[in-house]
């Protein structure tokens, strides 16, 4: 393992295999919490924390428990258990530290539990045979990629609010079109690594 391979993992998770725009994971909060840059940033941070912690803990769970006992088939349920607990923890911390953010994230905060980006990340970590360090870099890359996508999208949506959009396209239709254009734009990174 060398530094450059870690860098490749990081960049590929952020840009090339962006979780939202290339892998299409975590679309629900991507569309739900992207009306304001500030909220989107908060969501990105929450997901970053959950992803980083989840990748460490699930890695340990996989190696120490699942592989040891030969019960890999329990992977999904065990990982969801880890993620759900982490989300609960994040929810408590956010409620304590920033009630405003807690209010604006609303139902999407507990919904990180079922955010397939997090579960997808942990399962990808295992299936690509990443070790601990690589998993952490992959998680950070995925989280930055998610945050990047959601913050960019929120910024565009903020400007769309003021733009002159045909009535039929107002709101979600134009948001979905924007998302697809962003996804196309990110295709440009393919072949980077």
């Amino acid at each position: 393992m060398n530094i450059s391979s870690l860098f490749v993992i990081l960049i590929s998770a952020i840009l090339v295999n962006n979780f939202v725009l290339s892998r299409f994971l975590g679309i629900c909060p991507f569309l739900g919490v992207s009306k304001q840059v500030e909220t989107a940033f908060g969501m990105g941070m929450a997901v970053t924390f959950v992803m980083a912690m989840a990748s460490i803990i699930t890695y340990l769970v996989q190696i120490l428990i699942l592989d040891n006992l030969g019960i890999q088939y329990m992977q999904t349920i065990a990982f969801i258990l880890v993620i759900a607990s982490l989300v609960q923890l994040v929810e408590m911390i956010i409620q304590k530290t920033s009630p405003t953010l807690y209010q604006s994230l609303g139902v999407f905060l507990p919904l990180i539990t079922t955010n397939c980006a997090v579960l997808g990340l942990t399962i990808l970590n295992i299936s690509q045979d990443f070790n601990m360090i690589e998993s952490i870099f992959h998680a950070i890359g995925a989280a930055i990629g998610f945050s990047l996508a959601i913050v960019l999208f929120a910024a565009i949506r903020e400007r769309l609010e003021l733009a002159h959009v045909p009535k039929a396209f107002k709101g979600f239709p134009i948001a979905l079109i924007t998302a697809s254009l962003m996804s196309l734009a990110f295709l440009g990174f393919a072949g980077l690594v």
Binding site: V61, I65, I71, V82, K96
Partner: protein
């Protein structure tokens, strides 16, 4: 199949769950947010319809505002007096319970009584209909269109469309949340006290001559009710009579006198005064105050109510120094 393949998953996942659970329990202590216990109690005492009738989104927000003292305990129009009392108890404040009010459609001009301007075959909705042909298909521009926009807005099933396309509000179910008033494009719904049975059911603000041509049951601004009312409870504004509900004693005189029957009131509900002979001392006070001379009797003699003249206004009951008059 060995027993281990069952034991391992159960033990490992159970163990994980236990560890995480313990961790979360610790965290919840550590990061506990103090929520005003009164807010929770208030939330439980509220109806929980999240209708927004109080002006804030949802019962939770309202409960929080009340607990912080930023909203009045009687601010929930749906819960009514009972809810206000419960909230006042939780907050430890006094509340003078407001009279219960209900929404009322102030129009009786159904398809038979109010003439059509044209046949409407459009979207089945008052707002849509009110945009066509200068305010809908009815010749009266102030009338209830009866397409049920309010019925759909009502969360309590308290509105129905009766024969001849007029919305009717069932007072028993109405919670006075005000949703119907908001959505009605004709502003033909008003709030009246629950106990009030005498209500002017016309909203037309045009002069009598014009109104007469349009609707059989409209207020034609003849002012007969104003003159007839013994308590000066009726006044006129914009060619329309309106009742001062504080002064109205529900004597139904105006209901009887109105030439177009534009004042609603169930005469069956009219009360009659009864004098208790045992306690009447013959002071003639009631006789002097009766607006319709329905009491006869000499000084120091027992008084008698002339049932066919009595309008059940209750003035004598209030004036009798011996409390020997009852309304029945």
């Amino acid at each position: 199949m060995n027993i281990e393949s069952i034991i391992y998953p159960i033990a490992s996942l159970g163990g994980l769950g236990l560890v995480f659970g313990a961790g979360l329990a610790y965290a919840s202590q550590k990061f506990a947010v103090e929520i005003d216990p009164r807010a929770l109690a208030i939330r439980d005492a509220l109806p929980g319809a999240n209708c927004g009738g109080c002006g804030v989104p949802g019962c939770d927000s309202f409960a929080k505002l009340v607990a912080e003292g930023k909203a009045s305990v009687d601010g929930c129009p749906v819960g009514g007096p009972d809810c206000a009392k419960a909230l006042a108890e939780i907050m430890g404040v006094e509340v003078d319970v407001k009279e219960r009010r209900v929404a009322k459609v102030i129009c009786n001009g159904n398809k038979e009584k109010c003439k059509d301007k044209f046949d409407y075959h459009g979207i089945n909705d008052c707002v849509a209909a009110s945009m066509v042909g200068g305010g809908g298909d009815k010749s009266c521009n102030y009338s209830c269109l009866g397409f049920g926009t309010c019925v759909r807005a009502c969360q309590f099933d308290a509105i129905e469309i009766v024969d001849g396309r007029i919305a009717k509000i069932i007072p028993e179910k109405c919670t006075a949340c005000g949703k119907c008033i908001e959505v009605c494009p004709k502003d033909v719904i008003d709030m009246v006290p629950y106990e009030q049975s005498v209500v002017i059911t016309c909203n037309n603000k045009e002069t009598g001559k014009i109104v007469r041509k349009k609707c059989e049951v409209a207020c034609i601004a003849c002012k007969i009710c104003v003159k007839a009312c013994p308590f000066e409870a009726i006044d006129f504004k914009n060619n329309l009579a309106f009742i001062d509900y504080e002064k109205c004693t529900q004597c139904f005189v105006c209901v009887e006198k109105c030439p177009t029957k534009a004042i609603e009131g169930d005469l069956e509900k009219r009360k009659k005064a009864i004098i208790d002979d045992d306690t009447c001392i013959g002071c003639t006070i009631c006789k002097k105050h009766c607006p319709v001379e329905a009491i006869e009797g000499e000084l120091k003699g027992k008084h008698k109510i002339l049932a066919d003249k009595c309008i059940g206004c209750g003035v004598c009951e209030a004036k009798c120094p011996k409390k020997s008059i009852k309304m029945n």
